[in-house]
């Protein structure tokens, strides 16, 4: 599904990631951890082709990213839902329009009942008409999850999804992502919150990847 073969990424003369080789299998659940600035966000951006590797091969859905045209990259991103810590919305559009944006840009439509179900699932059933600036941090994160899953992607990448919310909301967001994994979605969550990872371990068979010295390793049981 997503494969890295000996990938490196350099920026401004310095190497952020080096010799990264791994595969995210369909239906798997991974955490990616490491200190701030270690390269977690860079790794995620390589996963949805916002960045291209400076060495090695990144393969998305059996196609090497360098061989993808700009349109191919857009189509590939429709198979990958992304949730950012500082999630961005179109502030002039109501929440419902923002959540359905992935369908809109691919010239597809969602039924009102499906949208209502989805917003209800993330706990935003009463906020369809709200503008994004009026949402709290937790509401924005849940809206981002709704936007990421509405197009039924194969993979969901979450970059510090609990960074701006309290612990209770963090667990709620984690539960949503675990539920999505049970529906067959491949999940990768980048986080430095080890408590969140420990909480997840009781709910799902998650593998933990750790970035250390520019390389990604499978973390031990100490987590």
């Amino acid at each position: 599904m997503i494969a890295f073969d000996n990938v490196a990424y350099s920026y401004g003369g310095g190497e952020l990631l080096s010799e990264v080789s791994l595969r995210l299998a369909p239906g798997s659940f991974h955490f990616l951890t490491g200190p701030s600035g270690a390269g977690k966000s860079t790794f995620l951006k390589l996963c949805y082709a916002e960045l291209l590797p400076t060495a090695g091969r990144v393969t998305l859905f059996d196609r090497e990213v360098r061989s993808l045209s700009r349109d191919d990259i857009a189509r590939t991103r429709r198979r990958i839902g992304v949730v950012h810590q500082d999630v961005q919305f179109l502030d002039h559009l109501p929440l419902a329009a923002n959540v359905t944006l992935p369908l809109t840009v691919s010239d597809r439509e969602s039924s009102a009942s499906d949208l209502a179900d989805l917003l209800g699932w993330v706990g935003l059933g009463q906020m369809a008409d709200a503008l994004p600036p009026s949402l709290s941090g937790g509401e924005r994160q849940r809206a981002a999850i709704a936007r990421a899953v509405i197009i039924d992607p194969d993979v969901i990448l979450a970059d510090e999804p609990t960074g701006n919310v309290d612990w209770e909301m963090s667990l709620r967001l984690l539960t949503l992502l675990v539920e999505l994994n049970r529906m067959g979605k491949t999940i990768l969550i980048a986080t430095h919150d080890l408590n969140l990872i420990r909480s997840a371990k009781s709910q799902v068979a998650a593998r933990v990847l750790r970035i250390r010295n520019r390389r990604i390793q499978l973390a031990g049981a100490d987590l």
Binding site: V82, D91, V105
Partner: protein, 285 residues
């Protein structure tokens, strides 16, 4: 929905509409100038090409006889449809702009003028000059070529300038729309980032901007065209002004030509915004 993904307002909206309106207003005048110049050139060219003048300079006691000789000669010249000597009143009216009314024309040694209307095909000018030299030495043929040509050339150049002005206006509008589109794309970089994240293709993003700028240009140009046509309509009429300005405006089907300006502005805005959008989107990667 595609239009709505771009925030609805901003300075570029007003700028594009205003620019399109202004350019269309100016283009209406340039078009009127080009059409009027064309008509003027045709009128001068055709009007003067079919006529000529014979100027008879002779002592007063020989003037009538030489005039008679010239008229008889012309009546037997192939290619001359008609010929007549101008009356004293007609000659007085011709001189009136320079010498004022009540000119004592009979007391002045003014040449007699004979007007020739040319048939088709025309007469042999060189042959006629030689016959006049032989039979009426004081008669000189003036076929108007000498002063018809610079007038026609001037009118043709005026038409050319009008058309060049239209092209410059089109170019300026394309440049302004491109700048406005670039500004809008730069202002909405965050919107573009979000759209890309959720899988929007460049063509989708570009269309959202292109459609908006095209409609703004169409609306602005429609306003400018209507105002321009009203302004042309309000110009002094032929009877009131006279001279060159009599023809400045549209005639008949010519009034339909300015109506092409709004769709033309829309096409220009479409092309300029599309070009700017794709270039900017590649830069924003």
């Amino acid at each position: 929905m595609r239009d709505r993904v771009v925030p609805p307002s901003g300075p570029t909206a007003w700028l594009t509409t205003f620019t399109a309106a202004t350019m269309a207003f100016l283009a209406v005048f340039a078009l009127a100038l080009a059409l009027a110049s064309g008509r003027l050139a045709d009128r001068w060219s055709e009007g003067l090409a079919n006529s000529a003048t014979i100027r008879i300079s002779a002592p007063a006691d020989q003037m009538e006889r030489q005039t008679q000789v010239v008229l008889e000669l012309l009546s037997t010249t192939p290619g001359v449809a008609s010929a007549r000597a101008l009356t004293d009143d007609e000659q007085r009216r011709l001189l009136e702009p320079w010498f004022g009314p009540d000119l004592p024309i009979s007391a002045l040694p003014i040449p007699r003028l004979v007007e020739i209307i040319e048939a088709s095909p025309g007469y042999d000018g060189e042959g006629l000059r030689q016959r006049l030299a032989a039979e009426a030495p004081g008669a000189i043929l003036d076929d108007h070529t000498r002063w018809r040509r610079p007038l026609t050339v001037a009118a043709e150049r005026l038409r050319f300038l009008g058309l060049v002005s239209i092209l410059l206006i089109i170019g300026a509008m394309a440049a302004m729309v491109t700048l406005a589109a670039n500004a809008a794309l730069a202002t909405n970089a965050q919107v573009i980032k979000v759209l890309r994240l959720v899988g929007a293709r460049d063509s989708y993003i570009a269309r959202a901007f292109v459609r908006r700028f095209t409609l703004r240009a169409l609306g602005g140009a429609a306003i400018g065209t209507i105002l321009g046509m009203l302004a042309v309509l309000a110009l002094p009429s032929a009877d009131a002004a006279g001279g060159f300005l009599t023809g400045l405006g549209f005639q008949g089907a010519g009034w339909l030509l300015p109506l092409l300006l709004p769709p033309l502005a829309a096409v220009i805005a479409f092309a300029a915004t599309r070009f700017a959008a794709f270039r900017k989107l590649r830069e924003l990667t």
